[in-house]
Structure formats: C-alpha cells, structure tokens
Amino acid sequence: MSSLILDLLLVIALLWSALRSLMTRDLFRAVVLFIVFGLLMALVWARLHAPDIALAEAAIGAGLTGALLLDTVGYLRKKQQESFP
C-alpha cells in the first residue's frame, strides 16, 4: 500500500515537473525543473527495477545535461546583456 502511494506521488511529481519545465517562460527555471525531472526519473527507473538506467539517468540525464544547459543559459544571458545594456 505504502509503495503504491510512493509510486503515485512519483508519477504526479514527474508529470508536474515535466509540464512546468515545458510551460515556464524563465529559461533558468526551466533548466532547474528539467534537472528535478531527471532526478525523479532516476527514482522511477529504480522503482521499475532498472538500477543501471537509474544510474545513467542521474549521472548523464540530470547531472551533465543540466550543467550543459545551465552553461547555455549563462551564455545566452551574457549575449542579451551585450546587445541590450
């Protein structure tokens, strides 16, 4: 029973973070929500008995992709400041 509640909460949080990441207008917030989505996804993979994919998702999906996206947001902001000081 408690595992069912945990799974339901995970599904709701996963869909919510995915939706918010797509809908929000602030790029920085979208990237942070994407990282949250990746970490929740890793938990879901672990619950689905796929620990290998969970490890890869947490390290590559959330960690490295998140770092790259944050770097891109910083670069875009710098460009924006240069063109509209």
């Binding site: 620990p51 290998d52 969970a54 490890l55 890869a56 390290a59 590559i60 960690g63 490295l64 770092a67 790259l68 770097d71 910083g74 670069y75 710098k78």
Partner: protein, 235 residues
Amino acid sequence: MRNLLNVLVIVLSAALGLVLIGVILESPSPARVRLPEEVLMQIGASGVTHPVTAVLLNFRGYDTLLEVMVLLLALLGVLAQMGKQKRENPPAGFYLTEPRMQVLLWLARVLVPLMVLVAGYLLWAGGHQPGGAFQAGAVLAAAGVLLNLSGLLPSWMEPAWNLRAGLVSGLLVFLLIAAAVMMTASPGLLLQYPPASAGMLILLVETGLTLSLGLILAGLFLFLSGDAIDDEADK
C-alpha cells in the same frame, strides 16, 4: 497562421501518440522469444555475472562500440564549431580570493578524490552488479565539471596531443581487442570473446571506455565553458 500551425502540430503529435499507444496495446505478447531467460542461460559464456553488462559488452558489444563512436563524433562536432572563434586561455583560480569561494574550493577538493574513487568502484562493480563504464565515465566527467566550476581547472581550448590520445584511447582499445579476437580466437566474427578470457577482455575494454568517456563528456562541458568563465571574471 502561426496559431493554426501550432494547433496542427499539437493535433498531429497527439494522434501519433495515440497510434503508438494503440500499437503497443494491440501487439501480441512476445511469447516465443523471452530475452531475459535467453541472456541468463548464456551468461556463463559472457565472462561477467551481471546480465546488463553481459548484453552491453559481450552479446551486443557492437552496439556499444558504435555508441562510443557517436559520442566521439558529438565532441568532434563541438570542436569543429569552436575552431572558428579564437579565444585566449583564461587563467585558473582568478576569483578564488573571495572568502565565500572558500567553501566551494574546499568542497571540490574533498569531493573530487572521492568521485574518482566512486568511478573506479562503479567500473569494477559493472561485472557483477549495476555499474559499468558509462556510469563511471559520467562520474569522472562530473568531477571535471566541478573542478572547472570551482576555478581549479581552466576550460579547455585547443586539445593537445595527450588529450586527443585520451579522447580516442577507449575506442582504440575496443577496436584493437575486437581485431585481435577476430584474428585469433573466432575468425570472421566481430567481438566474439573466447569464454575463458572474456571477463578480462571486458574489464580492459571498460577501463579504456571509462577514461575516454570521462574525457569526452567532460570535454563537452569544458570546451564550451570558456565564455562562462570570462563572464565570472567580469563581475
């Protein structure tokens, strides 16, 4: 017009999604071929005891070989794009004098050795439990990103010969072992390890891949982050 296009895209995507769901529900259950059982039956010949590693590096080693090539190609794409803009090498550790940066510095100095240790453990664990070269490489790359963000490691510019060698070493080891096995143990068959030495060969391949994938994944960040560092220096 734009709105109409948006609606069209949404409707088409929804239709495609529904069709895919329908196909999955309609498709007959695969009763004849049960892959998990097949893998477990053959796992004795693979040289490792973890089924995922057995599939990735032995039964479907060819897929992994191509995956590594794809990652290397992605990095080559980044390098090709970089070549157009000339930038000077930013000095490392230029904003480390601020007191608030000491926490980050200390954290990086404690965490990075631990991360290297974890990467080594994941590489070794891949043979008998979840882990393996890709995860270990990603942890190594994350250590590189952390060092770069805390200012201890400057962003990479033009890769020197030793970095280039590191980037391709995993693929070279993989190809060399594939060629050696093809010429000696099983002529004409790609990546058919002899069961007696399969475990050692897989560990060799994974060690090379961990190093290379760590450098490739870190490179995707470190070759691109030069501007971000400059940005910090301006503040």
